[in-house]
């Protein structure tokens, strides 16, 4: 009984649509609410009760929340039950006599000719138009049944199968795939722990085109390219270039051009003496260091390629007159921010001075190994094929009854039904009926 209830519920189209609506709603929440932000961001953006609700309900990472994964799981379950209980058994009705004029799509007319001859000619005409003809006798009356696109009722099954294959491919990535990212300063070498590949950045180039548009000057990035030397499992170094849209493949893992930025080496002094430990590092944007003997932290916020005449950051991303945006905090509380031109110093108190001494381009890479890609591709193709079959090939059945009304005179009755109701076949049936009347000189019965 419980099983029956389960099958009835999960096999219901309205239940599936309800799941779609919940899925859609959760997806929409993910579009509107910024994902993966720090909790403080939500408290800044929303009233406290809403921010708390966002965090407690995992709406800040909704696509990996139990709600989202759960609803997709329920949809897959509903899809499986629908497939086995509704889609596979669905077929056109069995071959049996019908009352022609009780079917909404019907046509009746009288024509010259013996019934057998008219029946044969109609069958030829329909067969020539792709209909599969079968003839049966019921209670002495001869019936012709014509089916078209009966195979297409499996379109929904194909679409559902595609959806399941896509889900399987996605699951394969979760189970066996991996991804990561790493920045490389010019000249730097790194080894990727997951793949053992070694990557060295020889040079990073970028091209930015200044373009005068109708609303002013725009600095359009045109090209980002990393020149790298890589060695994979064979240990042979190879020179390669990585561009956006043109990843490189090392032993099945793809490496992508993701970002770029400027590393900065700071000259840090205390009472005029250079602190070698702090001064020998190259910091990337977002990196910070603590000043020894104080509670103070200095953060390299971002590189400003060009400052304008008033000393403010310019929109020009090309390096002309660079500066560095620094932030300072004491015990975790911000105590100030400053824009420090390259090779000029800023006093941080207690005898500490920091000078941005040298900048160096770095390139940001992503890498990803995804064994599910072929499955997702196949699933997407199957899903699409299923949709096309479902929408563009309509399984339809014609019931044709030809009976004699007088010597040399017959009455033709034809009716049509489809797996998607009558309205969707109305115009095609109208054309078919018109053809029958034209070919057989039909007169209104």
């Amino acid at each position: 009984m419980l099983y029956g209830e389960f099958v009835r519920t999960f096999g219901s189209v309205l239940f599936a649509v309800s799941l779609f609506l919940v899925w859609g709603l959760l997806t929409l929440i993910g579009v509107i609410v910024d994902q993966g932000q720090d909790p403080s961001v939500y408290f800044q953006s929303y009233a406290a009760p809403i921010a708390r609700a966002i965090l407690r309900l995992s709406f800040d990472n909704i696509y990996h929340s139990p709600w989202y994964v759960g609803i997709v799981g329920l949809i897959l379950l509903s899809l499986a039950v629908c497939t086995f209980k509704r889609v596979i058994p669905a077929r056109l009705p069995p071959l049996r006599p019908v009352t022609i004029d009780k079917i909404p799509l019907h046509e009746t007319f009288e024509t010259h000719g013996e019934a057998a001859d008219v029946r044969r000619r109609i069958a030829e005409l329909l067969a020539g138009r792709g209909w599969r003809i079968r003839e049966r006798v019921f209670g002495g009356a001869e019936w012709s049944f014509a089916d078209k696109h009966d195979w297409a009722r499996r379109g929904v099954l194909v679409a559902h199968a595609g959806f399941v294959i896509v889900a399987a491919g996605t699951t394969l990535y979760w189970a066996r795939g991996f991804a990561g990212e790493f920045p490389l300063l010019t000249g730097q070498t790194t080894q990727i722990a997951r793949t053992d590949a070694i990557v060295r950045l020889k040079r990073f180039d970028y091209t930015i085109a200044p373009i005068m548009t109708k609303s002013g000057m725009v600095y359009q990035p045109v090209d980002y390219v990393s020149h790298v030397v890589v060695s994979g499992k064979d240990g042979v170094p190879k020179a390669m270039t990585v561009r956006v849209n043109h990843p490189i493949d090392i032993d099945g893992t793809l490496y992508y051009q993701a970002s770029y930025g400027f590393g900065v080496r700071f000259n840090v002094t205390h009472d005029g003496k250079r602190d070698a430990r702090l001064s020998n590092r190259t910091l990337l944007e977002g990196d910070s260091f603590d000043l020894p003997g104080t509670n103070r932290t200095v953060q390299y916020d971002r590189f400003v390629p060009t400052v304008d005449k008033s000393g403010m950051p310019s929109a020009d991303p090309r390096v002309n007159d660079p500066a560095v945006a620094l932030g300072a905090s004491e015990g975790g509380n911000s105590i100030g921010e400053a824009l420090v031109p390259m090779r000029t110093w800023i006093d941080l108190g207690d005898g500490w001075r920091v000078t941005p001494a040298q900048y160096l381009l770095y390139s940001g890479f992503q890498y990803r190994y995804d064994p599910g890609v072929p499955l997702v591709g196949i699933g997407a193709f199957v899903l699409l094929a299923g949709l096309v079959i479902s929408f563009y090939f309509l399984p339809a059945r014609l019931y044709v009854r030809v009976e004699p009304v007088a010597p040399g005179r017959s009455r033709v009755g034809a009716a049509a039904t489809t797996v998607k109701g009558y309205d969707v076949f109305g115009s095609e049936f109208g054309r078919l009926a018109a053809t029958l009347r034209r070919e057989f000189g039909g007169e209104t019965s």
């Binding site: 997806t27 579009v31 956006v244 890609v373 699409l384 949709l387 309205d423």
Partner: protein, 276 residues
Amino acid sequence: MPLDELLIAIALAAYTLGALALIFYFFTRRTWLRDVGAPLAITGCVAQFAQLAARFEMTHVWPLLNLYGSLSLFSAMSVAIYIVFAFRYRLWFAGGLVLALAAIFLAYGVTWYEGTMPPVPSLQSYWAKIHVPIVVSSYAAFLVAFAFSCIYLLKYYGERRAGGAVARWLAALPSLPQLDVIVYRAVAIGLPLITVGIITGAMWAKEAWGAYWQWDPKETAALFSWIIYLAYMHLHTRHAWRGLRTSWVSVIGFVSIIFCYLGVNIWISGLHSYKV
């Protein structure tokens, strides 16, 4: 005036005049208005495709990489799909709404025109020539579905409230089941197209960003729209839900498309925030 701007002006004028003619035809059923409106629709559509081709020829930059270009294709494809429907199913009466929407979107697109710019690195891909036209065409099919859903709802509610001349005028429109089938046919064009669009977008994303799905707002908004139209198609299999309810779902679906197309591009930052 450069050729491409001239062609846009012609298209805009043709759509505006065509919309007026076909709106009056919708209300009065005077055939000369249809005979004026239909050629204007075709003229505007041809001018728009010519404009896109001319722009590509003049700049050698694929013209669909900004809102100006993609909105131009959106309105052109909307009118093209509508024209095919109008010829096949004799639906010129609905042209006023489609042309008016096309003119509005085209005019809005023109406000984003900033001149010629080279594409940013992530848009320099052959996928731009596959993914963008397919997605925009799906939006166009949904616009046509939306227009006929509106007419369905107008007729449905009108028949229940109006009497006299209005009732007679409503009776001259195609029947509710016929309108429902037209909406279904338009959605049946849009849904496979948006499915292909999402698939090709995922393939492009895999090539550009390393993952075929990153839960970017544009991706998820497209997924949301896809879910709505999937719900539409499932509901349409139920006789009791066909017609009024599915027409409302089609209207909601188009609102979600506009949010996905314009709202996400303009108001929400993400990987698709190219804007101009």
